[in-house]
Symmetry: C2
Subunit: 221 residues, 2 copies
DNA sequence: AAATTATTTTAGATTTGCCTAAATTTTGCT
DNA sequence: AGCAAAATTTAGGCAAATCTAAAATAATTT
């Protein structure tokens, strides 16, 4: 059993590896992600190395061991299942759930998360569209496009998720009725500033900058 | 915002005051309840006194301040609401819920507990029959009897709760179909050893020692 | 009212997770 | 290759929460 601090380091490393696509995470990036000093990171990764959750070579960053990766995936699973619970059962808006899930994910009980999974009917994606690992740590993949890359007029899409989880961004999307499961139609695409003119499910016309559209994930139809 | 350790001390003190009916809790009893040394208790109660949650007079134990009592009641509320959730929604048996609620009760979010309360439809009693304080910290009382004190033949009762939360005791009651909401009928009372012969809801005949019956709370009808 | 016992507090350490500053090592650049 | 910059580790310290042992105080018994 790991402490909350140790678990948060694992999550930070997972997030870095996911974002950079690399196999190793540097002390610097971990410190940045955790909001701590590099010295603290060195202390902690040495400890997690001793617990055989991280492969650590002095001066060359860390990678996950098999057990470290599985532990991280379990944390991601717990976090996203709790987010799903908060959103679908307790009606929390999607900009409020992350912070609470950050606490709930550290509750230690395998049976709890298994029963929660069953209670929620084994959801595959969280309220932000991120995949939820199953008990074995495997994700369900799906083809998805970044709205910002789509330019075809009159084409219709279903929102799948978002790439930014920024609270204000999510609230803004709420105000535009752009949420997972909602429909969007491209009315116009402006190649000069890469902005879109969209129609939402409520037939409202929306003008969206590429700053926004690049953070929205959709599928056709 | 208090640390988990600080919160657990408040709960321990609450439990002692409830059990002893006294206004002050001694260092010794707190240490016993927490499973720590008296020295640790002295350190902590001095800290909680500085935070104005406890009234503390050196060598004479502690009592709650108004804020300390409210904080404790909020913790009891969270604990019991989570237990109710685990039992009624996730189908955990009543002997498993306490341990998990001990973790969940420390999640910090007032909105979370308010929404959970609403989701569960404002339950007044937890799965062990203990009252759940409302948002203002007030309990709903009800008249209840200790089964061990009841001797009248052929009288019928509804189980309301239990006074011991021991896991093995609860499992034993499960095996006898003695659970909150279930009916019980007194077939015989033996004054010599104070044992009861009962009939449960499944029409099974049960012989119950006073050791057991003294831990069961019931109401008439 | 002493003396003994029980309880509580103080003193001094330990562990965890964090910090800053200094030393070391690697990396990038001319 | 050599030097400067960047990253990392080490050293030393701090706060929280714990411990054991010793000292102080209160309660009980004679
Ligand atoms: Mn999240
Ligand atoms: Mn999410
Ligand atoms: Mn409980
Ligand atoms: Mn309970």
């Amino acid at each position: 059993m790991l402490s909350i601090a140790e678990e948060n380091y694992l999550k930070a490393i997972y997030k870095i590896l996911e974002k950079t696509g690399s196999k190793e995470a540097s002390t610097k990036l971990i410190a940045q992600e955790m909001g701590t000093s590099s010295a603290s990171v060195t202390d902690m990764i040495r400890k997690l190395n001793e617990k055989e959750l991280l492969n650590y070579e002095k001066y060359y960053g860390v990678s996950f061991t098999k057990e470290g990766l599985k532990y991280s995936l379990d944390l991601i699973r717990k976090h996203r299942l709790w987010e799903y619970f908060l959103h679908t059962q307790l009606q929390f808006s999607w900009d409020k759930i992350h912070e609470i899930a950050e606490q709930l994910e550290h509750v230690k009980s395998e049976e709890l998360i298994d029963r929660l999974d069953q209670f929620l009917d084994y959801p595959k994606y969280d309220p932000h569209g991120d995949p939820i690992p199953n008990k074995n740590g495997s994700f369900t993949f799906r083809t998805q496009f970044i709205l910002g890359n789509l330019t075809e007029k009159n084409k219709e899409f279903i929102v799948l998720g978002v790439r930014s989880h920024d609270s204000e961004f999510l609230q803004y999307l709420d105000s535009l009725v752009i949420q997972p499961g909602r429909r969007l139609k491209i009315l116009e695409y402006n190649a000069f500033d890469q902005s879109h003119l969209l129609q939402n499910e409520d037939h409202k016309i929306l003008s969206i900058s590429n700053k926004i559209s690049n953070e929205i994930l959709v599928k056709e139809l």
